[in-house]
């Protein structure tokens, strides 16, 4: 939210179950809006995945979904409007200009695409933090945001909207060090609060995954629209496994180099549908931290 507020024209924020229950994540969004002086409207969305029951990641993000810092009480309520409605209205009002950035379960996005068939023409692009090639965090091979609602992710990747996908295999490769978090703490209230959140997140990642940097997964989904040089991409076919007993919720990306597939056993995949993030550039993390400092200085 902070990275978007600094570099882009943030028109709306919608929430979805995932890191914690819908009520808690909506409250967190509103608190952060107050702290960062973001005035974009906030609407709550889906409380459950399209099918089945919700999974949660309490071990990483804590009981509140954003543990580690005292956030101010919200100074406003969420709109009395469903996230799906807010997405559709905003996209309609900014036809051809709006980028829908999803950093959680794709339930709202899938519901919006299904309920408003014109949405896919209205949107300029969809960008998702989710999926992975190889490494998993929710299961051996599935990333959390996709794994919590694989059917929704499948709908989004098949929608025909220009789509960017920034996965765990990329976001896990770069992160904030304890020293960078301490640096951030030198700033104002916003920077201090974010430093506390990152410190808690780093501690969880250390405990659960043995990492020594805090990955900034979600801001990475904004990167294609802020500075495309900070991550490299491959335009390729990506689909979501829905049926596997070990692989459900895994993103299956075409990463082979194929020549003439008329030969032998090689099965080609369908046409490219996704700009898949491949390699982060060294400037990525400093650029995100700089945005926090800028916004922090601006709001005083």
């Amino acid at each position: 939210m902070v990275y978007a507020a600094r570099h882009l024209d943030l028109r709306a924020i919608t929430t979805v179950f995932g890191n914690q229950t819908l009520d808690k994540v909506t409250r967190n969004a509103l608190s952060l809006c107050r702290l960062a002086r973001i005035d974009a409207p906030v609407a709550a969305g889906a409380a459950k995945p399209l099918l089945g029951e919700e999974l949660r990641s309490v071990t990483i993000h804590g009981k509140t979904g954003i543990d580690g810092a005292e956030l101010p009480e919200p100074d406003r309520a969420a709109l009395d409007l469903h996230a799906v409605e807010l997405i559709c209205r905003t996209a309609r009002a900014h036809r051809g200009e709006l980028v829908l950035v999803a950093t959680g379960a794709l339930t709202n996005v899938a519901l919006a695409l299904s309920t408003e068939p014109r949405l896919k023409e209205w949107l300029k692009a969809i960008s998702v933090m989710g999926g992975s090639t190889g490494i998993g965090n929710s299961t051996e091979v599935a990333e959390f945001n996709i794994h919590v609602d694989p059917e929704a992710a499948d709908i989004v990747l098949r929608a025909g909207v220009p789509t960017w996908l920034v996965g765990l295999d990329v976001t896990r490769r770069v992160g904030v060090t304890a020293a960078q978090i301490d640096d951030l703490r030198e700033g104002g209230q916003l920077a201090r609060t974010l430093a506390d959140l990152l410190a808690f997140f780093l501690e969880s990642l250390r405990r659960v995954h043995g990492l020594d940097t805090a990955s900034l997964h979600d801001p990475c989904a904004l990167v294609p629209f802020i500075d495309p040089t900070l991550i490299s991409y491959r335009y390729t076919n990506v689909r979501v496994e829905l049926a596997g007993t070990l692989t459900r919720g895994m993103t299956v990306a075409e990463l082979r180099r194929l020549g003439n597939t008329q030969l032998g056993h090689i099965r080609p995949s369908a046409a490219p549908n996704v700009c898949l993030a491949r390699e982060p550039a060294p400037g990525l993390i400093p650029h995100i931290l700089e945005a926090i400092r800028d916004l922090d200085a601006r709001i005083g």
Partner: protein, 318 residues
């Protein structure tokens, strides 16, 4: 004393190179070969295996024919296009037809009897679909205990070959593969595409093999050149004019373990997924509930591997 091994294979151009390396390397004693439906139909695998042994003067090594289809499925997850050439494997290897015949005993029977009677350690090296090995496990509950080490060529983590997420050997009989990976071996080593795609053999190397003027050098050069043409056409590697020789990496590892670099983690095989059937699910991030069961090779040392092939095939004495 040379290290004993049995190769279970679907010969196949890279299988052929693996067989020659195992049959000719002084540190190894190739006890027997079993064949299985895979790269080509099992009768062709057997015929090709006999061709190779005859050609290098090792027709003393017995060959037993194994399963002609996956253990539970009628065919591969997507049936083989019989009329298509794979480019990489020809139905008949480009060396003369064999004089020697296969043994009458079935591969599964041979494997079970041999391991039951073994007084010395015999490493099991399956480099084709795992149908025979799964059948052994099913037939004899003690089979797994009798195998000191199993070294499998198969699987892929970063990307597959037959589909975006699966490698051919594991995919060809996913149910067999799942049972083999879950069997609880004393030591399970897996050499997947992640490693074999790093151990490329080039046209420069095959020129050296041809120049050796030994049967193994001539045959290896022919097989690998066929592979290079196939790979350049349908699965180009990072470097043109070079191809992986997957199966031989397993054999090379038996002689020099430092040829591969492994991680010890849990590996299982997906049998149900529509996009991921036959994928080796490798728990690199330790997210699953299972203890590590497999030494999974993520890298291979190309130089050491190629040098071993060149040195072994140059030798005039079998």
């Amino acid at each position: 004393m040379p290290r004993k091994l049995i190769i279970d294979c679907d010969t196949g151009s890279d299988d052929a190179v693996a067989i020659m390396l195992a049959a000719l390397h002084p540190a190894l004693e190739l006890v027997g070969i079993t064949t299985v439906n895979g790269n080509v139909q099992v009768a062709n695998c057997t015929d090709n295996t006999l061709r190779v042994l005859d050609f290098i003067g090792r027709c003393d090594i017995p060959v037993y024919e194994g399963l002609n289809r996956p253990i539970t499925r009628q065919d591969f997850p997507i049936p083989r296009a019989v009329k298509k050439s794979t480019g990489i494997h020809s139905r008949e290897l480009p060396i003369p037809a064999p004089q020697t015949k296969k043994r009458q005993k079935a591969a599964v029977e041979y494997l079970i009897e041999t391991y039951r009677a073994a007084t010395e350690e015999i490493t099991l090296v399956p480099v084709g679909p795992l149908s025979n090995i799964a059948a052994c496990i099913a037939c004899d509950p003690k089979f797994v205990e009798c195998v000191p080490e199993i070294v499998i060529m198969g699987g892929a983590h970063h990307h597959g070959n037959v589909t975006p997420s699966a490698e051919f050997n594991i995919w060809a009989d996913p149910d067999a593969s799942a049972s083999v990976f879950a069997a609880g071996w004393k030591r399970l080593v897996c050499v997947p595409l992640d490693a074999t795609h790093e151990a490329l053999v080039s046209l420069e190397d095959t020129a050296k093999m041809t120049a050796m003027d030994t049967p193994a050098g001539i045959a290896a050069a022919r097989f690998v050149e066929q592979r290079i043409r196939g790979y350049d056409a349908n699965q180009p590697m990072k470097e043109r004019g070079a191809a992986p020789v997957h199966d031989a990496v397993c054999v090379a590892y038996l002689v020099d373990p430092s040829i591969i670099t492994t991680d010890f983690c849990h590996v299982a095989v997906e049998t149900v997924g529509t996009l991921t059937v036959g994928r080796t699910v490798v728990d690199t991030n330790f997210r699953g509930e299972h203890a590590p069961n497999c030494h999974f090779a993520f890298h291979a040392n190309r130089k050491k591997f190629v040098n071993m092939l060149l040195t072994t095939f140059a030798s005039k004495t079998a």
